[in-house]
């Protein structure tokens, strides 16, 4: 995949210590990262703060990244951890394993029909686990396997979360008057 090669090249340049490459890497990935964070936490200001935290963690972890072409899943894994820490601080609840591995389901008819705007409009009505699967798969265009890597669950679980998320999204959008 060409974008993987391009990202890999940027990462390798960063690992070499080319400071200009960091600016390019941040320039290329800041918008997708912010979109994910905003989708997860809702508040743009909080998302901006978290984005800075994520980028600092990325810079500090970059020399140890062994697979430069796997940058995207690695970035979103860090972002997810940052969001989880933030939510845990906000709600002060112990972390619970919310993974319920469902049966692998076929993609439903919504996958090709929903637009980015519709997904973003309905995100707030979807629970966090399903929401992040939606964001990563539909808004960030990460492949299913990469989503599974970021979320730390098997691809089948991602599929079932996506299925649930689309169902909830359809309900939410219908309530708000969108045609789904």
């Amino acid at each position: 995949m060409s974008s993987d090669v391009h990202d890999g090249l940027l990462v390798v340049r960063c690992q070499l210590g080319e400071r200009e490459a960091f600016r390019e890497l941040v320039g290329a990935w800041h918008a997708p990262l912010c979109r994910y964070l905003r989708g997860m936490v809702g508040s743009p200001h909080l998302a901006d703060d978290l984005a800075q935290e994520v980028w600092i963690a990325v810079v500090r972890g970059l020399p140890r990244l062994r697979q430069p072409e796997r940058f995207a899943p690695w970035l979103f894994t860090i972002a997810r951890r940052t969001v989880t820490d933030q939510l845990r601080q906000m709600y002060r609840v112990p972390e619970t394993s919310l993974d319920v591995v469902g049966d692998v389901v076929a993609d439903d008819e919504l996958s090709g029909v929903l637009t980015t705007m519709q997904i973003e409009a309905g995100l707030s009505g979807v629970p966090p686990l399903e929401r992040e699967a939606l964001i990563l798969f539909h808004l960030q265009d990460l492949p299913l396997v990469a989503c599974a890597e970021v979320l730390g669950v098997p691809p089948g679980t991602v599929k079932s979360r996506l299925h649930r998320a689309r169902r909830m999204l359809r309900t939410t959008l219908a309530e708000r008057g969108y045609e789904a």
Binding site: H6, R19, R23, A28, W55, V59, L62, A72
Partner: protein, 165 residues
């Protein structure tokens, strides 16, 4: 990804740009390496001075020596922690840092051995020289590994550039 183009840099807040510029600063890394090396080498030389002292030192002088060694070691430890946790070294930085470390260990070995030769017995000279050689060898090994890692990344960069074009 559709968003991946240089124009997207306009979306990066200035505050974040500044924070990241500080985070990737080469000067900051080199400063920590220099401080760590200075602390470590100074502590070593003071230890050599203390060990090769022909007459027993007064208690207050011993405490002062111990305090200076502890301060030097603390600076070296702090620099090591910062460079492993807060400001990890990139390939080029590691090569530069390893060169500095090699230079510092060579100078410290020469200075320490000279001190031991002037002030101590033959055994002191041998122990100091041997310790210095071990530290120098460790620094040389770090430099070789850093250069090898840098070469590996350069090869990978060239291969990816060919694939990307």
């Amino acid at each position: 990804m559709s968003e991946q183009n240089p124009a997207a840099q306009r979306g990066v807040p200035e505050e974040l740009e500044r924070a990241l510029a500080a985070e990737v600063s080469l000067r900051s890394r080199m400063r920590h390496i220099a401080v760590g090396l200075a602390g470590g080498c100074a502590a070593t030389l003071i230890a050599v001075l203390w060990a090769t002292e022909p007459d027993p030192l007064p208690a207050r002088t011993q405490v002062a020596f111990a305090g200076l060694i502890a301060i030097g070691a603390a600076w070296a430890g702090l620099a090591g922690w910062v460079l492993s946790r807060r400001r990890p070294l990139f390939a080029r930085d590691r090569v530069l840092g390893a060169r500095l470390a090699l230079g510092a260990t060579v100078l410290t070995t020469i200075a320490g051995t000279a001190l031991a030769a002037v002030r101590g017995a033959t055994a002191d000279v041998l122990v100091t020289a041997l310790g210095g050689v071990l530290f120098t060898a460790a620094a040389a090994l770090v430099l070789v590994r850093a250069q090898s890692r840098r070469r590996e990344l350069l090869r990978l960069r060239d291969a990816l550039q060919r694939d990307d074009s």
